[in-house]
């Protein structure tokens, strides 16, 4: 189980990005982390994965604990070994390397050859598409295939927790559906998932629990089904709110001050 408690992250020693963020990812669950641009979602992923250093960031307060062990500000490789792997925003596949080599890099921390081979087989089973393209250079594949490769690469370590940062970014709706099914599949095999998304509908439709972030902290959380029903989430994240008679609301008739979120004081 991953626990982030009152985490505060500062970039360049001045830019305060996370201000007391607390989230929990219980074993075997899918947890969605929603929020607009600049809310701090990716920073949260970096803080958990130990990648803040690259961006001159640092967790100054609070803690990240995984299975009861504190991993705040640990090295990225130590965190991967502990069982948390993340798929970074924008896929970030190694474009120069072949699919096979990309997956080998994913399994870098796995010392044992036969374990690595087993993970490799599992990834190939999960993504038949990658099997076909094993020898192809990753940079020439389509966006969807690259996203599959990025997820497959992360699965090579057989993580206990998989962090997915915007897996639906830049993909066609049909591919988003495919990625969604894959996430469900991965979760059913026993991996917990922290799903960071702007596509709130997709994320909440598969998550057990959801958090809504704004300006560096959680403003709302609850069961995914509850969030889906929430009026403010509907209005601000799903764009679904309709008026009493059931028609779609025209924003032309809405005064700005009337569109106020209930959590904004």
């Amino acid at each position: 189980m991953l626990e982030v408690a009152n985490l505060e992250v500062v970039y360049n020693e001045v830019v305060l990005v996370l201000r007391g963020l607390s989230i929990e990812v219980p074993d075997g669950h899918i947890v969605a982390l929603l929020g607009a641009n600049g809310a701090g979602k990716t920073t949260t992923a970096r803080a958990i994965g130990g990648l803040l250093g690259v961006h001159e960031g640092k967790a100054t307060k609070g803690s990240v604990t995984f299975d009861g062990r504190e991993i705040t500000n640990d090295k990225a490789s130590a965190i991967v070994t502990a069982g948390i792997t993340q798929v970074m925003e924008g896929r970030r596949t190694f474009a120069d390397l072949t699919v096979h080599e990309n997956l080998m890099c994913g399994g870098f921390t796995v010392k044992d050859r036969s374990t690595r081979q087993a993970s490799y087989e599992r990834v190939m089973e999960l993504f038949p598409r990658l099997k076909e393209r094993r020898r192809q250079v990753a940079g020439y594949m389509s966006g969807g295939e690259q996203q599959m490769l990025a997820i497959g690469r992360a699965l090579m370590t057989s993580p206990k927790l998989l962090i997915l940062d915007e897996p639906s970014l830049g993909l066609a709706p049909q591919l988003v559906q495919q990625i969604r099914d894959i996430i469900i599949n991965i979760n059913q095999e026993g991996t917990s998932v922290l799903l960071i998304e702007q596509n709130a509908m997709m994320a909440l439709s598969i998550a057990n629990y959801g958090y809504v972030m704004e300006t560096g902290k959680v403003v709302m959380d609850g069961e995914a089904s509850k969030l889906l029903d929430d009026d403010d989430v509907k209005e601000f994240y799903l764009g679904l709110r309709s008026d009493e008679s059931g028609n779609r609301k025209s924003f032309r008739n809405v005064k700005h001050y009337k569109r106020k979120k209930k959590w904004a004081s």
């Binding site: 970030r92 474009a95 370590t157």
Partner: protein, 365 residues
């Protein structure tokens, strides 16, 4: 999905120029082979010796570039300091404190002692590489590559100052057992038992070729390993590599240690024929890195095969120009063979901007 191919007028000019050039060279070599076999054999042996040294030094550049995406400008400094380590150990300190009468150079370290000194010197060089990596390169992980490249330039200035200061104007011998000697191929044995004619082949050519072969086989095997693939991943995207649990610091350390070792080997050979005749470290030893640069760039900065092929081509071009164009040295200037590598590099780049084996940037269209 194809690699982007823009029209480049220089490419066609360059390739036709190259074709004519290669044809001329081949015809010329055939002519020489018939009329002056001995000179040709001697030239080729010398070219092979020089090419092997270039290939070794180029391999050091390539290893560090493939891991860090940075051309390590400190390679020359590392070469000289590494060679100085050997001079301290083998000649000043006589590790392991024995000398023998060596048939080739008179009094000097024994073969065993010298070999041991070389090993220790290489270990020191690797440690120096590790220290430099740890102190000045590691803090730059994830930072712009340009900054890192400039840091290596600063490192070069630092190492060069240290090395120049310890060499000053005198020569620092390395105690190489085979010295600058060699053997003769062919020729006729006269009545007095002295061979006349024949092609002279220095022992250092043979040694350089063997060393290069060992180094390249080792590096090829390394790149097929888990760590080798991880090294390429780190070169492509450090942050993504970290997110996958690859220990970027360890990869950098291995690359720098190996780079320093290869630079040192290059530095040692840079004191011997055909590069120098003294068998001793001098101020010019550090220039081996800059003399190798055309080979690295011609072969492709990120390619191991490129280092080998580029080194051999540049070695051949430099030596054969020195041999066969010597009658024009009045017009060309005395040091003209040193310019030849750069000319070959420029022609090569017109045809293949990424180098012969370099990887063009992967792009989707």
């Amino acid at each position: 999905m194809d690699r982007i191919k823009g029209f480049n007028p220089f490419t066609s000019i360059g390739s036709s120029a190259l074709t004519v050039f290669i044809a001329a060279v081949v015809l010329f070599l055939i002519n020489r082979a018939i009329f002056e076999t001995t000179v040709l054999v001697q030239t080729l042996a010398k070219a092979l010796g020089l090419g092997a040294v270039y290939a070794i030094v180029a391999l050091g550049f390539v290893l560090i570039f493939k891991a860090t995406q940075v051309v390590n400008f400190a390679q020359g400094g590392l070469a000289m300091v590494g060679a100085l380590f050997l001079s301290f150990l083998a000649v000043d300190e006589h590790i392991p404190f024995t000398t023998i009468q060596n048939p080739l150079i008179g009094i000097g370290p024994s073969w065993f002692g010298w070999g041991l000194s070389v090993l220790v010197a290489l270990v020191f060089a690797a440690l120096l590489g590790l220290v430099i990596e740890r102190i000045v390169i590691r803090p730059m992980i994830g930072q712009p590559l340009f900054s890192v490249a400039i840091i290596t330039l600063g490192m070069e200035a630092f190492l060069r100052t240290f090395a120049n200061d310890s060499v000053r104007v005198q020569l620092r011998p390395l105690g190489i057992p085979w010295g600058t000697g060699g053997f003769t191929l062919g020729g006729t044995v006269g009545d007095n038992g002295i061979t006349t004619g024949g092609a002279f082949v220095a022992w250092s050519y043979v040694a350089a070729v063997i060393t290069a072969a060992v180094a390249f086989v080792a590096v090829f095997l390394f790149y097929r390993s888990r760590m080798g693939v991880a090294m390429r991943a780190v070169a492509f995207d450090q942050e993504a590599a970290m997110a996958n649990g690859i220990n970027v610091g360890l990869v950098f350390a291995i690359a720098w240690a190996a780079g320093a070792v290869l630079a040192t080997i290059g530095g040692i050979y840079a004191t011997q024929p055909p590069i120098a005749q003294t068998g001793a470290v001098q101020i010019e030893t550090q220039f081996i890195a800059f003399r190798t640069l055309p080979a690295v760039i011609l072969g492709g900065l990120d390619s191991v095969q490129g280092a080998l092929v580029g080194g051999l081509i540049i070695g051949l071009a430099e030596i054969s120009a020195g041999q066969y164009l010597s009658q024009f040295s009045g017009q060309l200037g005395a040091g003209y063979p040193l310019i030849v590598p750069y000319v070959v590099m420029i022609i090569g780049l017109l045809v293949r901007p990424y180098g012969i084996f370099g990887t063009p940037e992967v792009r989707r269209v």
